[in-house]
């Protein structure tokens, strides 16, 4: 059974339709990239998957149940999102931020126990953030903050991890580290990863499947080689590109023609 199942989803902000009759299914333990030009509905789609927005018509099934029927806490145990950026008004320590990822697993009157702290510690170890656990979140660099937010999402122990441009602030080393970590979690814990990106090569190299969105509709969906074609990119992004094969992986590689 697919873990994410979108059935004829339509969505509009006020009168402006942003998503029309979108259907797709994502199986457990897949890595899926969502690409598309600005305003094509990528972030909206992520919000519908994690139940922050509800479709006007159609159904979004997560783990077999409509997102409207899960409670917020239940859905947060299944789906975690790493946002692009968060603003911080009050000072919190990095470790406190990661600890917040445990919220969906706790009841109001319970304190975090050893297990929660262990999970937080592991999440911070994996994201290379232990070094600044006791530093204030708002004093970290953008890349460091992003890693802390990734750690928080991991501490939620989700089945599905949503990433909204989560690698943009990471330097090369941490980008590689993060992608390796994703694959590792993907194989070891059957984690499903859905990431939104503007970096077509990143999508082509790392995703099992790619969803190409174009003005609120799915223009193409499938394996990287099926979606990343010069014709598709020309049609959707209105730019000329050269597609060849990455000599290392054999996956499609895109070069912008100027």
């Amino acid at each position: 059974m697919p873990i994410i199942n979108a059935e004829n989803i339509s969505f509009s902000y006020a009168a402006k339709p942003v998503m029309e009759d979108v259907s797709f299914a994502i199986d457990e333990a897949q890595i899926v990239a969502i690409i598309g030009p600005n305003g094509s509905g990528k972030t909206t789609l992520l919000k519908i998957i994690n139940g922050t927005l509800f479709p006007n018509s159609g159904q979004m099934l997560v783990d077999g149940k409509d997102t409207g029927q899960w409670s917020r806490q239940e859905i947060a145990r299944k789906v975690a999102i790493v946002p692009q950026e968060t603003s911080v008004i009050f000072p919190f320590y990095a470790e406190e931020i990661v600890l917040m990822g445990r919220f969906p697993h706790l009841s109001n009157y319970r304190f975090e126990d050893k297990k929660d702290y262990r999970i937080v510690h592991e999440a911070m170890e994996k994201t290379d953030t232990l070094a600044f656990a006791t530093r204030r979140f708002d004093e970290l660099s953008a890349g460091e903050r992003q890693r802390v937010l990734i750690a928080r999402a991991l501490a939620q122990e989700p089945k599905v991890l949503l990433l909204d441009e989560s690698t943009v602030f990471l330097d090369l080393k941490h980008q590689l580290q993060f992608l390796t970590l994703l694959r590792q979690l993907n194989t070891a814990q059957q984690l499903t990863v859905i990431f939104v990106t503007h970096d077509i090569n990143l999508a082509a190299q790392n995703a099992d499947r790619i969803i190409l969105l174009y003005s609120g509709e799915i223009y193409a969906i499938g394996k990287p080689a099926e979606v990343i074609t010069a014709a598709n990119i020309k049609e959707v992004y209105d730019v000329g590109v050269l597609i060849d094969k990455n000599p290392q992986s054999g996956l499609p590689r895109m070069t912008l023609l100027t």
């Binding site: 922050t52 917020r72 806490q73 239940e74 999102i81 990822g101």
Partner: protein, 324 residues
């Protein structure tokens, strides 16, 4: 900090227009703790029927206002918010003034009741103006409509001040500046009950508050039912602070300063912040009220004057020290 509060309370019992020795105070307290409530001397009378209730009341009001500050700052995601921003001061002041002017204040609990109703009606009004009945609340709209409603009420208060006679003017002015001496034993018990019940509820929400200050969307992602949580927090906090304000009058700076100060010392985790702010707020207001009693002996200053006089410079000092 509980110990600090008890020590401050005991010291505060000694001083006043009639000085009572510290060891006498301790002796009387020990006697009362043993269950002997018979009042045998004038000193005991002063301690138990004048100063002790007042100190307890000051503590409760200080704690209520500080808690209110913590919650409103978190809800509005604005470190400058306090219970008054949402119109609790303006509304209850207007209610009280109407009470004083119309003579409704001569009834039992007349003025506090009107002040309380005024405060609640205003919070409701602010909520409606901000569009809270139509859909999700935006933090800024709540803050802005609070400012607007407050400005309107200030104008209304000024209008009343310019038309009343001098007797009424005096009692209005005293009310506006905060006065902890009028509360009766029943009123004190009532505020204590509200504070304790409210605190138990709020403390259970501490982790949610931590998530809310990260932004509503983040809170939603991490599993908080944001709208319902916000509404409950708003209701409970408004109740606690409206009760305190309606009986004590307007005491500025406590609700904005104490949460800030505690955040600088203890960080922003609400599980620590809520109790710390409540206790420190209590200590702070007891000290301020004691000063208000002794500075101009035998006359008294309104406690609001003391809190603002101490609060403002200290606040500036903290901001300066914090700046790099």
């Amino acid at each position: 900090m509980t110990i600090v509060f008890l020590v401050i309370g005991a010291v505060s019992l000694c001083v006043g227009s009639v000085h009572i020795d510290f060891d006498h105070v301790l002796r009387y307290l020990a006697k009362a703790l043993k269950g002997n409530f018979a009042i045998t001397s004038q000193e005991e009378l002063i301690i138990f029927s004048v100063r002790l209730p007042r100190i307890i009341f000051a503590g409760i009001v200080g704690a209520s206002l500080s808690l209110g500050g913590v919650i409103f700052q978190a809800l509005l995601r604005n470190p400058l918010a306090d219970p008054y921003v949402l119109g609790i001061s303006g509304g209850s002041a207007l209610g009280a003034i109407v009470g004083i002017v119309t003579g409704a204040g001569s009834f039992y609990l007349g003025i506090p009741l009107l002040a309380f109703l005024g405060a609640l009606a205003t919070v409701f009004l602010v909520f409606v103006v901000a569009g809270g009945t139509r859909g999700p609340l935006l933090d800024n709209s709540l803050l802005l409509s609070g400012v607007v409603v407050n400005a309107f009420f200030s104008a209304a208060i000024l209008f009343f001040l310019s038309v009343v006679n001098s007797m009424e003017l005096h009692s209005i002015t005293f009310w506006l500046m905060g006065d902890l001496s009028r509360a009766s034993m029943e009123e004190i018990s009532l505020t204590a009950f509200c504070l304790i019940a409210g605190f138990v509820f709020l403390y259970a929400q501490a982790r949610k508050l931590n998530l809310l200050v990260q932004g509503e969307e983040t809170a939603l992602h991490l599993g908080v039912n944001v709208e319902r949580t916000k509404q409950w927090l708003l209701i409970v906090t408004s109740l606690i602070t409206a009760v305190a304000v309606s009986l004590a009058g307007i005491i500025g700076f406590v609700g904005i300063m104490v949460p800030h100060l505690m955040r600088l010392v203890f960080g922003s985790d609400h599980r620590l912040l809520l109790p710390a702010a409540a206790l420190f707020g209590a200590c702070f207001l007891v000290v301020a009220d004691t000063l208000a009693r002794v500075v101009l002996t035998p006359a008294e200053l309104p406690v609001g004057v003391i809190t603002a006089l101490c609060g403002a410079p200290y606040f500036i000092f903290l901001l300066k020290r914090k700046a790099p």
